[in-house]
């Protein structure tokens, strides 16, 4: 039996302290937490930075480090710093050093890195070892070279390697969400289908229970399957909450691909042990003949500057599309004439269809409309220049030539806001490797107070 304590769905998201304390009292074998995902968008992988505040991350990591010291078991984080790029791993290692210096701890820390040099992936692409997944984005050595960060998702083998060092703390770069939870149960001979299935159920903390905000859950793995017990006083896991979690952010609720195989939960049986614990058996792990790891990459596609204008005049609200089409034509022509080519202007109508665009065929407007001007260009200076050419139109453009010059509302001065570099995800591929360690590095450091 292996007990994995999962404090919450992600470091920085918060958890119920009493639930964490209850979990520590259960005597877990390991404390495992996720540090990120792609869900917040390409900026974080593009820049190699975290979406959560450093102070929040440090406050929660300090508490988890204290919980680790109390329990005397390893503390493990995967996908450190939201994106799991090497710089995000270094960021969390720095935070760990600061905390250790403040608390006077001496710690052995294993650091697993998942960053991929573009040349390695380009070489693998040429060798036919990079396989696209549907839907297939275009890929080329040039696109790979333009990525600011490429990461591969580490699997259970990598986490096991990190744990075998005897580290007190494992800080891992990009991993699958599940590998950080399944690794120890798999290493200790628990049922592999149960290990991966329990890991999937547990990766969002208490999201698979009736009280998602309580955060902490305990999963006990054994040779047949797993049992989930929420640690929040009010939280309950039911066969429904647990099985429904397979729907969450999963395109297929029965199959989950991992390095080295896939999980199939088609025949899983969910049984209520009492009114708050659920036991799951019958999940199957299907090994693959190939060892593949998923790749993620983000690249710079330009710079953006945005402007916001608010339109409250009834006649303008009623004719807002015509007004915007006219501005778009005139501002684009003027910007091309004065600043040159190489930019795009888009106007989104907040209060009409800014959220869904052309898909929103039933869109209606209210008493006011926010007009969000988005300028994308190849340089920061160009994006700002074009926004400055757009702004006078957003402020004063008349619907007809035969009327007094109108003025609309700018909430800020200046109205344009520089968004900096724009990144996009550009890989939906897997990399085949002969040995799991071909694309990952592991080092251990001793942190002394």
């Amino acid at each position: 039996m292996v007990k994995v304590l999962i404090p919450s769905g992600a470091l920085g998201l918060g958890y119920d302290r009493a639930a964490l304390a209850a979990g520590i009292a259960e005597g877990p074998d390991i404390i495992a937490i996720d540090g990120g995902s792609t869900d917040s968008g390409p900026h974080y992988l593009g820049t190699g930075t975290s979406k959560y505040s450093r102070n929040s991350t440090k406050a929660e990591w300090r508490e988890l480090m204290a919980a680790r010291a109390e329990a005397g078991v390893p503390l493990l984080i995967g996908t450190a710093g939201t994106c799991g790029a090497d710089t995000a791993v270094d960021w969390l290692v720095d935070i760990t050093r600061e905390i250790a210096a403040e608390t006077g701890e001496t710690l052995k820390v294993a650091i697993l890195k998942s960053g991929q040099p573009a040349a390695r992936i380009a070489h693998a692409l040429g060798a036919g070892r990079v396989t696209p997944l549907p839907p297939v984005p275009e890929i080329s050595p040039e696109i790979l070279e333009s990525c600011t960060n490429i990461v591969a998702l580490a699997g259970a083998e990598h986490i096991q390697g990190a744990l075998e060092t005897g580290a007190d703390i494992v800080i891992a770069g990009r991993t699958t969400d599940t590998a950080i939870i399944s690794a120890l149960p798999l290493a200790r001979g628990c049922n592999p289908g149960g290990a991966w299935h329990g890991a999937k159920i547990g990766e969002c903390g208490a999201l698979s229970t009736t009280s998602p905000n309580s955060g902490t859950i305990l999963i006990e793995f054994d040779t047949e399957g797993f049992t989930i017990t929420p640690m929040g006083a009010e939280a309950r896991a039911t066969p429904h909450t647990v099985s429904a979690h397979m729907l969450y952010e999963n395109s297929d609720p029965y199959i989950l691909f991992e390095p080295g195989g896939h999980l199939d939960v088609t025949d899983a049986v969910y049984t209520a042990l009492d009114d708050r614990r659920v036991r799951v058996t019958g999940s199957r792990w299907v090994p693959s003949g190939r060892y593949t790891v998923k790749l993620e990459g983000a690249r710079k596609v330009g710079y953006q500057t945005v402007s916001l204008a608010l339109v409250r005049d009834r006649r303008y609200v009623e004719n807002i599309r015509q007004w915007c089409d006219d501005i778009l034509a005139k501002a684009s022509a003027k910007a091309r004439e004065r600043a040159g080519d190489g930019f795009e202007i888009e106007l989104r109508l907040i209060g009409v269809d800014a959220t869904l665009g052309a898909l929103d065929t039933a869109a209606q407007s209210g008493t006011e409309v926010g007009v969000l001007g988005i300028v994308t260009a190849q340089t920061e200076a160009m994006a700002r220049e074009v926004a400055k050419i757009l702004n006078p139109y957003l402020l004063h453009h008349p619907l007809t030539e035969q009327e007094e010059m109108p003025t609309f509302a700018f909430p800020f001065s200046p109205p344009e806001m520089n968004r900096g570099v724009v990144y996009e995800f550009c890989l939906n591929h897997v990399l085949e490797i002969d040995d799991p360690w071909d694309a990952f590095t592991l080092e251990t450091v001793e942190i002394r107070a």
Binding site: A244, L247, S251, D252, E296, V301, G302, T355, F425
Partner: protein, 99 residues
């Protein structure tokens, strides 16, 4: 005819990675599940999302009273043309469908 959102407790849409959108229709009871499972045409959902039929996945899960659709995201998450980073708003389009 009713709006789907008026007869089911919840319609949820989420990213399933940057390239996929997944929509879960929680029907609540087996009776409503039967109505949605039989009455909601896949083609109509594809039309509302302007999605590609070739890659669509549909799951009618009686044990959960859930009908689930997964489609390639209308725009890849976070690209310049994407308007909803977390993909949660697409649920409204499905909830507003007539059944």
């Amino acid at each position: 005819m009713s709006r789907l959102g008026d007869i089911v407790p919840k319609v949820r849409s989420k990213n399933a990675g940057p390239f996929w959108l997944t929509i879960d229709i929680f029907c609540g009871t087996s009776e409503v599940f039967g109505r949605v499972s039989n009455g909601l045409q896949t083609e109509a959902v594809l039309r509302v999302l302007q999605a590609d039929a070739g890659l669509l996945k549909r799951f009618d899960i009686a044990s959960l009273n859930v009908v689930k659709f997964s489609v390639p995201r209308p725009q890849v998450q976070g690209t310049r043309a994407d308007r909803d980073m977390h993909g949660a708003s697409f649920a409204a389009l499905v909830a507003e469908m007539e059944i």
